[in-house]
Symmetry: C2
Subunit: 195 residues, 2 copies
DNA sequence: GTATTAACTTAACACCGTTAACCTTCTTTT
DNA sequence: AAAAGAAGGTTAACGGTGTTAAGTTAATAC
């Protein structure tokens, strides 16, 4: 009785094991013990299936970030921990991270914007910390939401560079991550020099 | 008489116009007035063709960056200009930028590492500026090459977030880019607060 | 003038996402 | 109990993909 959830689970397994490129409808069907066309009874098309996978991966990422939040920490420590957790999640779950942030837009032309709402929760989480650190802490920031996006883009850059194997082999990954994360967080603390 | 160069040119046109996902061997062949299999006389497979395209796109990017270099500028201005040029190139040539930095590794399993050497020139260019600014300027950096990678990863993050349409619709792109770039460069100028 | 090589061809293989049409089986309605 | 419908499944097929094998044609080299 392979239903929606079974298909999703099988897909997730294949995605994590073989990556998005190898995740075909026929392969999913075979692993679910069902014909390929059956999937279309539960999902409109592959994009919709992918979307469902993205949603669950986003939830997983959000959870991983929140797990590293402690009320007793000051804003900077919070940012540091979250930044570290973000990159760690990406490196430990490259296939899932990839579909969250790296699937190319022209491959999913009708990607519904409202489904990305879930990701916004992550930005709002970042923005909240930044806002907190900005009011009663040492963070010098005037537009928290925009800064949250900047932070996120920076972290994404670090993660994606490693995942897509674009890091120079001379540079050790671990060292790069910790230096980059430290540098990025530092950028939020520093006083601006007047122009 | 479509030879290697002709195929490359046709491929480049299709890539820029329709994107990587739509760039099929058969389509290239049709536009080159040749059978699909002919391409395999000049390129081992699609990955190799793609690699050649990546190389030429990298050269184009390197040129775009160098064009914005002026000896009369101080290190910070140089970094600012290059950073701006980097993101601008990405946004103005999204398809080419995508294949340079966003093509997933599992789609090109046998990607020869030494071919990425060309990209290194770009890092070295960044590293040189950082090194210069570190010795006789206000940049506080101890590992120039690693810092170059950090800078590049951050810029890539900003570019890729926009190209892959992951930027919140509430945030205006232009403003985001300029604020993010400014913030990133600022991060290289700032004094480190002692741990 | 034979041999080699470069450039090309068609036919085919094994995949892909997706659709159409059809078949069960179980549940609900009359 | 009979009819209707929904839920879950099927096979066959369309048009696409990258790629390989085998064969052709034309020029160039000895």
């Amino acid at each position: 009785m392979p239903l929606r959830e079974d298909i999703l689970e099988v897909s997730r397994t294949i995605l994590v094991k073989d990556g998005f490129g190898k995740m075909s409808m026929r392969k999913i069907a075979k692993h679910a013990g069902v014909s390929a066309t059956s999937i279309y009874l539960h999902f409109q098309n592959k994009d919709e299936l992918l979307l469902a996978l993205i949603e669950s991966s986003i939830a997983k990422l959000a959870l991983a970030l929140e797990k590293n939040l402690s009320d007793s920490d000051d804003s900077i420590t919070k940012l540091e921990k979250i930044a570290q957790a973000f990159v760690e999640f990406a490196l430990n779950n490259p296939q899932e991270y990839e579909i969250i942030y790296m699937v190319r837009p022209e491959e999913m032309p009708k990607f519904p914007k409202e489904k990305f709402q879930q990701v916004r929760k992550i930005y709002e989480l970042l923005a909240d910390i930044i806002r907190e650190g900005s009011s009663k802490g040492p963070l010098s920031v005037d537009k928290p939401l925009m800064s949250a996006y900047t932070l996120w883009a920076q972290l994404h850059g670090v993660a994606s560079v490693i995942i897509s194997k674009r890091l120079d082999t001379r540079i050790p990954t671990g060292e790069f991550v910790s230096q980059a994360v430290e540098h990025i967080i530092q950028g939020f603390i520093s006083q601006k020099t007047p122009a």
